[in-house]
Amino acid sequence: MSSIMELRDVTRCFDSNTVLDHVSIKVEQGSFTALLGASGCGKSTSLRIMAGLDRPTSGEVLLNGRDVRGQNAYERNVAMVFQSYALYPHLTVAQNIALPLTMRHLSNLGRMPLLGSFVPGATEARRTIMNKVVDAAKSLGLEELLDRKPGSLSGGQKQRVALGRALVRDPALFLLDEPLSNLDARLRIRMRSEISSLHRLTGKAFVYVTHDQTEAMAMADQIVVMIGGQVAQAGSPRDLYERPVHRDVAAFIGHNAINFLEPGDGINAGDSIVGLRPEDLTPNTAGSLSAKLEASEYLGSEIMLSLRSRRGTEFRAIAPGDYIVPTIGSDIRLAYEPQRVHLFDAVTGKRKSGVKHEAVT
């Protein structure tokens, strides 16, 4: 596979503020790449640079191996789906989806509402466009909505219209900027799989920006974790979950925030910081770690325990839903599997590899 889009050593400064700092990202043909990071870390900026809506201060942008820094968004033929969908509120769904085609295939004159029909060729062009729009709408289940305006659509429908507008152009690359963040939790999960299947259907490369690690993990082949304008780690979801190269990456990945235990908290790992996920830590009378129970939250299938170590560090563990919670304030023991322990350098935060097993007692 060759890369379709590549940022090479891209830096972007706004005034004196360096927002992207020597970022290099490679997007393979047909892949699903997620840009993951906290708010303000430069995800959108990277995406906008890929799209041609913004320009790097230095570094190269390659589309299909060719430098495209001189081309604007339209010329690159990339499609972009925005966080707020950016549907044109005054146009119907059909017109929204058709707009990129209209701009391409009809002359200025031909676009006029009434006059347009007299321009030679305009009528056929219109018909072709309408066919494409209907095709795209069908593949997204939007046929019924073509005459509605975006204002009267639900979040999920809007989302699909935005996808339709991207789809209809048959672009080289899809760029999606947090397209699901405005939806409620249930709908988000449904749309997730719709986007995945769209990816499979088109076979085009997708670049997907999100700050929700669940989303990134669930959908992507490749996750690029960005922290403070730099690429912290790029790799497959399982890589990131199982072998985070930095404590910040570890803190970012995983449904439940990872616990960091320091020397003296009960796990002996030299002067390294120990990362241990709540789901890897269970109450067990034979466990090696002991801590004080501070609070418990019943979550149905499981129970989240808030604990405090001897040294006073707060951390969390997960018990199964049928666990009988002891009285608050009592000491309990917890067990974990040694291979689930991540070790990080206390100063740099970098992963310490190799030393893992022996360090655990």
């Binding site: 799209a51 339209y74 990339v78 925005f82 969908y85 950016a86 044109y88 990129p100 900027d177």
Partner: protein
């Protein structure tokens, strides 16, 4: 509410006088209702005087001003919010300063300039000075600033030129603000007396308020029935326009960030 009655008083009186026959207008006793409806006042105002011409002049001037204002203000407001360039701050500063300059301040030099160019006593003299509307730019800017920039990025990705974005995306979206602005602009210039009194001397170019004055003087103040009918005819279009757009106007006021 009593206040409403006070507000209405001159309107009621105007209508009442407009319908009164001449001998009842100057009576020394109070009569609100005319003894018979006298349409002749309206017929007189519409046929014997230049009122229809004044209305036409008013329409031409007001629409001319509005169209040019929008054509100039909307792209500028758009660029000020949705594009980044060096002079942006400077130009916005200019707009803010211009906002503070009432028209009366510029009247003398503009009069002199127009005299030089020789366009006094033309429609252009009544239209041109109002084209730069700092208020309009400001209003539209406030409105555009609330729109997500994603929308415009999307349009760029979709292949719209900046001009196309302005007129096909930004302007249709700004219709509430545009309505509010249009009402402001139209009422202001329809009712303006100051500049028409200065820039035109030809009664054939008189806008409605100027025309009312000509009419009043022509009839020497004692032919009040037709005068009131004329006043009514001149006032009615705006009131009707306003009633139609009232909701949009208030909405636009609220959203356009006019307050504070």
């Amino acid at each position: 509410m009593a206040g409403a009655a006070v507000i209405l008083l001159p309107f009621v009186w105007m209508l009442s006088l407009a319908f009164k026959p001449r001998d009842e207008i100057f009576s020394t006793s109070i009569q609100l209702l005319p003894s018979r409806l006298e349409w002749s006042n309206f017929i007189f105002a519409l046929t014997e005087t230049n009122i229809p011409l004044f209305l036409w002049n008013g329409t031409v001037v007001v629409l001319g001003i509005l169209v040019f204002q929008v054509m100039f203000a909307v792209p500028c407001a758009y660029a000020l919010t949705q594009r980044r360039f060096l002079a942006r701050k400077l130009i916005f500063g200019l707009v803010m300063i211009a906002l503070m300059v009432p028209f009366h301040v510029t009247a003398i030099p503009i009069f002199l300039g127009f005299a030089q160019v020789g366009i006094l006593n033309t429609y252009w003299a009544l239209i041109l000075p109002f084209i730069p509307t700092a208020f309009g730019i400001f209003l539209f800017r406030q409105f555009f600033a609330q729109l997500p920039s994603d929308l415009f990025d999307a349009a760029r990705v979709d292949g719209l030129s900046e001009t196309a974005i302005v007129w096909r995306i930004a302007f249709p979206l700004a219709l509430p603000a545009a309505t509010a602005f249009a009402i402001f602009s139209v009422t202001t210039h329809w009712n303006d007396l100051f500049w028409p009194m200065i820039a035109t001397t030809d009664p054939n170019l008189a806008t409605p308020p100027r025309g009312i004055l000509y009419f009043r003087d022509e009839e020497s103040g004692d032919n009040v029935g037709p005068l009131m009918a004329a006043a009514f005819i001149v006032t009615a279009p705006l009131v009707i326009l306003f009633l139609m757009a009232q909701r949009k106007f208030i909405q636009g006021l609220a959203s356009g960030g006019i307050k504070g």
